[in-house]
Amino acid sequence: MKHRVLAIVSPPGEHDIIPQARAIQAHQPDEIVLLKTYFPGKTPSTISHRLEKWVHGSEDLMNTYSDLFEFIDLPRTPPLGFIQRRGAESPHIVEIDVPVDDLFNVLQELELKYENSDFRFDILPGSKRVVTPVLLSKSLQNTKITYSLEEGGFLRLHRDGKIQSESGPYVSLIDRFWLTGIPVYAENNGTSISKFSKMYSALLAAQSIEFRTSKDEEREATRKMSLEPRKLVDLPLNMRNESARRQFIQLGGRVETSSPETVTYQFEDVSWEVQTEEHDFKLGNDNELIAANEILNHWEDVVEIYQGVSFLSPTKDELKQQIQGLVERDFASYEKNPDKIHTAGKFLERCERLGVDIPGEPEDFPLEKLVEAEINHLSSLTRSELLQHVWTMRSAEVDVLTLGEFGVSMFDVKQAIWRVKEFTDAKSATQMAQNIVIREEEKRWIVNSTSPFDHPKVIHMTRLADGRDVIKSLNRFHWRPTKYNLSLLKTITEKGLQSKKGKKNLQHKTGVDAETLRQFFPDLFNKNPTHPKGSKKQKRMIQVVTENDTTEDAIHKIGKALVEGIKTPCSTWGEAASIISRVISPEEKSRLFGSKKFTLAKAKLYLRDYVFISHEGKEVVVRPNNRFKNTNTNTD
């Protein structure tokens, strides 16, 4: 076999090195020629220290974080490092300084130098201005021009316009983060998910509606936040109900409730203990693995998948700052509500664990001492003991991460999303750890509830089986019920439609919004055309926003007034704005929404649950969102 030489343009320093690693991995060369381009008058840059270490293997790359790991034995998922062809030696790296306008000449010289070798130049993304002369088809005669791919392998771009695909390994997601300066820990990978695949599939097939119970109502009564109206008609789909457990058993599984807060599922030869509650909060952790399993089984473009990826603080100092920030935050929560277990619990547990007394007056609390004790305690633990503390040492966590033809994609798995703010909250901009190369366009939410929001980035768990095509589907956010669940809903719906009282409470009885119910059972509703829109329009008092109202209250009052006040079938934005002005004063707008004007953009942002706003400019129309209208009719 010919000596394989790969030439690539080298980026300056530690930034943007993933494409280079991708090309090196895809080509598996014997020799790497790093062309360090520089502009006239500037000095040639140094190559990435971590890229070099990665070429030498996993250990060398991890050792670039020795300062951190000597201080604390953090749980981590090691990178694979560069994987060489079987029988070939580790590649030799050659560095050449190249003035930007000389790249073509240098490549011609290299072409001559390596005329007896298999010489390749990978054009990589970026550096377009520098690479352009090389792209002309007449430019190089004996060089393979290639473009390496995210999913592994590369395209060979022939001079006659033909493109040939060649196989090769990909750079693991894990390596990508270590290379960009972030050590990572992943709870599960494709192999560990596959081991439980049949169980996860059976759980998804068995899931049913978690109807509201009196315990839920009690629990909500203790919460500060008011109940989201959607919470009544967008119920979770999961295993926390008898129907689901029965279904799972029928599918061949077994269920054991080991404690009030944990449940163990068994299927064939595997078992899985799931924590269902913590500090009086329901958990939906099991959804992450079920979603990851669906993607693994059905998304053909995906080559690698991880669940529960923690991005760890990369240096000792950043780790200490991270822990300090968390302790301070928990202390603030404790100070606000010292008697509430779900807000003060973490802080009290920490004090107890570290043997720090809580004095009578919060201002006397030795916070610095607690931070120091926590850092000392954590650094004394073993790697396995630290597993339960990973959440305190990470700067971000992603539920499901995949690598495939479309690059790196991330999924936030939620049981349900009831507040539209989840999609628009500005804090999303900073949730990602710095330097993490995750593109916003490849960030999506997976939900598992009866009637989710129609949002371009939302995919229903039951639709993941459609593969990546689901993102183009108009139904991507719609629940696709199993036969069992459909039949259950049909029985409740039929029964409800038979009586006036039942009709009124139909959405709450089924836990599904009216629009979704109509989609499931068009025939049933055609027989009962008056439901659920309501035949009589009642006159209602407009509730004005007062100085005691929160933003949530104001949104509800404005939304409700619009639903009741706008004309059928729709109003202009001017008409809608005049209703809004009757509900909220400029002062309250300023206090709650930051400006004395409630703009169209704000209406689109905050009132999606209540109204649909379409068209642009003077043609804007506002229509009631029937989901709210029906909920409202039934609850008021």
């Binding site: 054009i123 990589l124 993304p125 970026g126 550096s127 377009k128 201005r129 352009t132 002369p133 792209l135 002309l136 088809s137 007449k138 021009i145 473009y147 791919l149 995210e150 999913e151 395209l155 771009l157 022939h158 006659d160 316009g161 033909k162 493109i163 695909s165 473009d301 033809e405 479309f406 628009t424 500005a426 804090k427 999303s428 901009a429 900073t430 990602m432 710095q434 330097n435 993490i436 190369v437 995750i438 916003e440 366009e441 490849e442 960030k443 993102i471 183009k472 934005w573 704005a577 809004i580 004395k596 004007k597 409630f598 703009t599 169209l600 953009a601 689109k604 642009e616 400019g617 804007v620």
Partner: protein
């Protein structure tokens, strides 16, 4: 002499390439018809602002390279076997270096382009390959920049007497405004926004979303943010795009 371009994200650079010479014809490779129409309108506006004739314009569809079409799928679709050879390129024609490197290599080899028009801030527009011709480096002013993009910049005063600068579309479809903008200037073919110190995290987040909006409206390399703290710059480079549309009640 005809100019071929891939309709990408740096529309201002494309416009400057189109108007740096009196091309016999401008041929645009596009993947999205809506973007093509909107860009065609900008060409007309630009011609008006520069008092130049609107060039003869043609277009040719190419496969998209986005969230619905991967690089492998793009390469499969943009192949000799799958694309109709309707364009005949002659040795005087030039391909502007817009789009990705993959777009360029594929189009060069498919259509046998022998010359590429490229640009840098020192030399302006110049050809490489068959020709080494240099072209005028068309300089725009703030006025023409805003006119072409149907945008306006206004200094305003809030009711509490604080001053802020608003950068918005003339039709009111979008707006960014901040009292942390010190000044906005147009030089070196870039809209330079000079920021004052931004004191709180919440305000920095708002600035990040404004910066993303501007990137979306004007292109990646047409707006430069000056004096922002490094953590905000990182977020602007890698963070998310919040789509905002403002229209006053």
């Amino acid at each position: 002499m005809r100019l071929f371009l891939v309709l990408g994200q740096s529309e201002m650079l494309l416009l400057r390439a189109i108007f740096c010479h009196s091309w016999d014809s401008v041929i645009m490779f596009y993947a999205d018809e809506k973007n093509l129409e909107s860009f065609r309108e900008k060409i007309v506006k630009c011609a008006g602002a520069l008092n130049k004739p609107v060039p003869h314009f043609e277009s040719s569809e190419i496969p998209p390279l986005d969230q619905t079409n991967s690089i492998s799928q793009f390469a499969d679709a943009l192949n000799l076997d799958s694309i109709g050879q309707t364009i005949e390129v002659n040795k005087n024609d030039m391909l502007f270096y817009s789009g990705t490197v993959l777009h360029l290599r594929c189009l060069i080899t498919l259509h046998k382009f022998e010359t590429i028009l490229t640009h840098d801030s020192d030399r302006g527009f110049f050809a490489i390959g068959n020709s080494h011709k240099e072209f005028d480096n068309l300089k725009l002013t703030m006025k023409t920049f805003l006119e072409i993009n149907s945008a306006s910049i206004k200094s305003k005063t809030k009711e509490d007497d604080t001053n802020f600068i608003s950068l918005a579309s003339v039709d009111g479809k979008w707006e960014t405004k901040s009292n942390y903008i010190d000044k906005i200037e147009y030089f070196n073919d870039v809209l330079n926004i000079f920021w004052n110190m931004v004191p709180t995290s919440g305000q920095r987040k708002k600035i990040v979303s404004d910066c993303h909006l501007l990137k979306l409206k004007f292109g990646h390399y047409t707006v430069a943010h000056r004096n922002l703290p490094p953590e905000v710059e990182r977020l602007i480079r890698q963070g998310y795009i919040l789509r905002l549309e403002e229209e006053e009640e």
